[in-house]
């Protein structure tokens, strides 16, 4: 026994020791931005997707969308986290165009755009430069396919549309700071040349800073005679070039307006600064209201020029960051930015996944060592710590967005996993059978893995702005949370029911009838809990619908999904009370309940109809069907167990 314990302890220490390595960052081979520079850049706020977020979050979801992962692994340039990657794209675009960045899921996409010769694998990553020869065909096809409804597109058509979108998005980022690289030539306009005698004044920020003077000049030239028209045309040409150079920077809305949030919600991108400064009819007040932003634009231009010098870059970046930060703070829009940076840097959900895996391994050992009393405590520890990490992550998200824990499909995964693990631990505390513990670890691993896959597959900000009807904290906190707890309980009950069926099938604890009685009680108790939460959640949803749309019940697919869970669980309870379902029957039906929960949670979104289609997802169908098929097999195995039991009983009778 002591040798076994040594092995277990060694395995635990080994895995625990591996944790930091698992989460550690790898340094890119080139353009190795130091940690401090990355941290400063990360905390620059940007308005994107309707909200203010850190630059690192912006970078993260752009990278996931293009690369299919949250870390870029380039064979030449090495491993890159989102923020260093974005810095490289902005400041070293020529290098960035060589990164093996764009994921192509199916080489048929490349065949379709005539790039067959570069294909090495069915799924691979390619650089901007690799794909450039196929651009004409790609964008032509993408325009054609984008006219087709997304749900009617084939996978290849969908990928072509996405690839074209990602390439365009990348190109916008790579050329966003071109205005700082190419200045308009002033030679054609002697008046402008006199106004900007030094070459460094030709910068756009310099031009914008003197927008008032230039406007006055053009107005006087417009009024004067024919002889001044050449000068006027030259100035307009310069302004046209400047505006064109700025036009690619629209996705970088990093300049908070000087006025309050109530007066203007939209932040400004460099291109908009130009429009505001030179807009016909813009008053002196309006022009002066962008002076601070123009100074920050000058800071951005500086950054481009010193990008080769790490310490100068860091210094200028700090100035830009603190300038943007001050403006954002004045508007009360900076409060959550650093918290969000910490949230992603903390990697709470990755840690919880690792700990749940560790917990699962230890629970498996715990089943192998049934007589060692302290092993369940050891196994429960990583599960509990993983749950703490998960809870911290969920809580931070709530604080960042100022919303209850569940408002998107992604958040349902996190919340349902947390509740299932917590319920499993509590049940274990009450029953001490090591079964709920095992199921908690399995659901924990599956849930966190699903959350990670979902984040990558959707490739959009997981803390998005909400549409008007969902923007109500009261109902999100009550109805959505309760329904999610119901889902969680339904899945946990189904997981425990698996133990009953497989235990019986493989003859585990054959001589211990109490073992199965205890599992049956756990299953039935969890079914009742699921029923309570599902009924309460469904009815609360009805009350919300009545308040918002004037009808308690509208037979919308998502409402029906919740009702299906209630009806299924009610049928189990009534059949059990009526004596139609014994323990095994309840276990089999509860596995079926897991299918119903999965359908309600994911399946109805795939139908793409109804008021709740906010959760509509693509590509989930295959996984869902796989899950349903698997669970049907388990139910069939339950049927086999029943037949075996019946045959055994008949044999005894004979």
């Amino acid at each position: 026994m002591s040798r076994r314990l040594i092995v277990i302890t060694a395995a635990f220490l080994l895995l625990a020791g591996a944790l930091p390595a698992f989460a550690a960052d790898g340094a890119p081979k080139e353009r190795a931005w130091d940690e401090e520079t990355v941290q400063i850049a990360s905390t620059i706020p940007i308005q994107d997707g309707g909200r203010i977020k850190p630059m690192s979050t912006f970078a993260r979801f752009r990278l996931i969308a293009m690369c299919g992962k949250s870390t870029l692994k380039d064979p030449v340039y090495g491993k890159m986290e989102p923020m260093p990657w974005l810095l490289n794209v902005l400041f070293f675009p020529e290098d960035a165009r060589k990164y093996k960045l764009f994921v192509v899921q199916d080489s048929e996409v490349l065949d379709g755009i005539g790039l067959t010769d570069i294909v090495k694998k069915k799924r691979d990553n390619y650089s901007f430069n690799d794909l450039e020869p196929g651009f004409d065909e790609l964008f032509k096809l993408a325009r054609e396919y984008s006219k087709i409804e997304p749900k009617n597109r084939t996978p290849v058509e969908e990928q072509i549309v996405n690839l074209a979108f990602n390439l365009d998005e990348f190109n916008r980022l790579a050329t966003a700071l071109d205005f700082a690289r190419h200045y308009p030539e002033l030679k054609g306009s002697p008046a402008l040349a006199a106004m900007f005698p030094r070459p460094e004044d030709h910068r756009l920020s310099g031009l914008l800073a003197k927008a008032g003077e230039i406007r006055r000049l053009t107005e006087s030239l417009t009024r004067s005679g024919e002889e001044q028209q050449a000068e006027l045309a030259a100035i307009n040409r310069v302004l046209g070039v400047a505006e064109r150079n700025l036009s690619r920077s629209t996705s970088l809305a990093i300049f908070p307006p000087s006025v309050s949030r109530e007066k203007q919600t939209e932040w400004l991108a460099p291109a908009e600064l130009f429009r505001l400064a030179f807009a016909p009819g813009s008053s002196v007040e309006e022009r002066s209201s962008v002076e601070e932003q123009i100074a920050l634009l000058g800071g951005l231009e500086e950054l481009v020029h010193v990008s080769g010098d790490q310490s100068a870059f860091k210094e200028r970046l700090t100035a830009v960051q603190s300038g943007v930060r001050k403006l954002a703070e004045k508007r009360g829009e900076y409060k959550k930015v650093e918290l969000e940076v910490s949230f992603y840097r903390g990697g709470y959900f990755t840690w919880s996944l690792v700990l749940f895996i560790l917990g699962f391994v230890l629970v498996a050992l715990c089943w192998l060592l049934p007589k060692v009393r302290f092993v369940p405590v050891v196994a429960a520890t990583p599960l509990f710590v993983g749950l703490v990490f998960l809870t911290i992550g969920i809580t931070m998200r709530c604080i960042i967005r100022g919303r209850p824990p569940v408002s998107t499909l992604y958040e349902t995964i996190l919340f349902i996993t947390a509740v299932a693990v917590l319920s499993g631990l509590l049940i274990e505390l009450m029953t001490r059978r090591r079964i709920a513990l095992g199921m908690a670890s399995i659901i924990g691993v599956a849930g966190m893995f699903l959350a990670s896959r979902y984040e990558i597959s959707q490739a959009v900000d997981t803390m998005p702005s909400l549409v008007a009807v969902l923007d109500t904290n009261f109902w999100l906190a009550t109805h959505v949370t309760t329904i999610s707890i119901g889902y969680s309980a339904g899945l946990l009950a189904a997981a425990i029911a698996h133990v009953y069926i497989f235990g019986k099938l493989f003859g585990v604890a054959r001589g211990d009838p109490q073992f199965y009685k205890s599992i049956a009680r756990m299953v039935y108790g969890t079914v009742i809990f699921c029923l309570f939460c599902s009924v309460l959640g469904t009815l609360l949803g009805g009350v919300w619908a009545n308040e918002s749309w004037g009808r308690f019940w509208g037979w919308d697919p998502k409402e029906n999904g919740a009702l299906l869970i209630c009806l299924w669980m009610l049928a189990i309870v009534h059949a059990h009370i009526g004596g139609y379902l014994k323990d095994l029957g309840v276990a089999i039906a509860t596995v079926g309940g897991g299918i119903v929960v999965a359908f309600s949670w994911w399946g109805v979104n795939l139908l793409g109809v109804g008021l709740h289609s906010y959760g509509f997802t693509q590509g989930v169908m295959r996984s869902l069907l796989g899950f349903v098929a698997l669970e049907l097999v388990v139910m069939a195995l339950g049927g086999v167990v029943w037949l075996m039991g019946k045959a055994a009983a008949d044999a005894v009778k004979q």
């Binding site: 009450m430 923007d471 004037g550 049928a571």
Partner: protein, 393 residues
């Protein structure tokens, strides 16, 4: 009561019947949900959820019980079970309360289905309305066309069931007459179509359905969204005194009603969605819609309206999740337009209108059910913990 009667009562209140009905409800809900991918919600609702029976398929007309019937039987099962089967013990109090709440909920659903009125009001900024329009129901209105100024109008109506009966396949090729003692003419309606579109006949009248004044109605397949279907019909107006016949085409989306002069009086005939009066008027002062910055995602929809009742005006804001409730009617912010309106273009706001006497009942039923389940769950949990503690000791 004989043995057979007692057995029947036992069956009516049995757990077995409850289980069977719950499974049946489950299957019907699943089918009804699935069918929404191909058919509109309104049609699905009529077929599965508001019917007593429906045919399995058109080819196999085996009657399948609809949700409405199943819920009635379930209510009976619930009540009979409550009276004859459930033991009135302290340990069962939670179960009894929850079942009482469910009965309450079913009853409120029944009242809602029978008594609730639904419709909508569409107002441009500055407009006022004191009536609302049904989503799905159609009527034919005949009235004396009003002259200048506000005049009280008396309308003669052909009701929805009378009209809709003409749209059934069994009525095809037939016509129906409607008249009133106070009207100097009789109306003869034929070729009533549930979804139609007017088309110009370009010299090929012989191949087309009945053409009137160079226009005919093309029958279209029913739209999945029931509101989008536009009724149409052919109308003959036969004057009682002279026997003169005037023929026209009525179409549900005509901008103005059809008018004709009889004995020096101008009459209007309008095929339209059913209109119902509101006990107060509503004026839309301003519609506000905000998007999340730099996106097209709606953030706030809000209508600033004035509620006018007996010449008393009151300013009210109606927004998502914050309706206007007054005199049994509730107005919800439902939609707005035009979608691509320019900065100075007038906007319109659409309010869903509901009159439902059982409006708040589901909330109370929910409360009762939750108390019942919570009570029972806690009671069982305590028992379970006690048993587990006993097992371990």
């Amino acid at each position: 009561m004989g043995n057979a009667g007692r057995a029947f009562i036992r069956f009516l209140g049995s757990n077995g019947l409850a289980t069977f009905l719950l499974i049946l409800l489950f299957l019907l809900t699943l089918l009804g949900t699935w069918e929404q991918t191909n058919t509109g919600l309104y049609e699905v609702q009529k077929k599965y959820f508001e019917s007593t029976f429906f045919p399995l398929t058109e080819e196999i007309p085996i009657p399948i019980p609809g949700v409405y019937l199943v819920l009635i039987v379930l209510s009976v099962n619930l009540m009979v079970g409550g009276v004859y089967r459930v033991k009135w013990q302290f340990s069962k109090i939670g179960v009894l309360i929850a079942h009482l709440g469910i009965a309450f909920l079913l009853i409120s659903g029944f009242f809602t289905m029978k008594l609730a009125q639904h419709g909508q009001v569409t107002l441009y900024e500055g407009e006022t309305a004191a009536e609302f329009v049904s989503h799905y129901d159609w009527e034919l209105a005949v009235y004396k066309a009003p002259g200048p100024g506000r005049a009280k109008i008396t309308e003669h109506l052909v009701s929805t069931p009378d009209l809709e009966a003409m749209g059934e396949d069994s009525f095809k090729g037939r016509s129906r007459k409607f008249t009133s003692e106070t009207l100097p003419f009789t109306l003869e309606l034929s070729d009533y179509l549930k979804n139609s579109w007017p088309k110009l006949a370009r010299g090929n009248e012989a191949e087309l359905p009945k053409v009137v004044d160079g226009v005919y109605l093309e029958e279209r397949p029913l739209d999945a969204t029931a509101e989008a279907n536009v009724r149409g019909a052919r109308l003959k107006v036969i004057e009682k005194n002279t026997g003169k016949v005037t023929e026209t085409i009525l179409w549900g989306r005509q901008r103005y009603p059809f008018t004709l002069d009889v004995d020096g009086v101008r009459y209007a005939i309008d095929l339209r969605k059913v209109r119902k009066p509101l006990p107060f008027a509503v004026r839309l002062n301003e519609f506000i819609h905000e998007r999340h910055p730099r996106t097209n995602m709606p953030k706030v929809f809000m209508s600033k309206v004035t509620k006018i009742e007996n010449d008393v005006e009151q300013g009210v804001k109606i927004s998502m999740n914050e309706p206007l409730r007054h005199k049994g009617y509730t107005l919800y912010q439902s939609s707005w337009g035009p979608p691509n309106a320019g900065p100075n273009q007038k906007l319109f706001s659409v309010f869903a209108v509901v009159k439902n006497p059982a409006d708040q009942l589901p909330m109370w039923a929910t409360l009762v059910i939750c108390i019942g389940i919570l009570w029972q769950a806690l009671y069982r949990l305590l028992h379970y913990l006690k048993a587990e503690a006993g097992r371990r000791s």
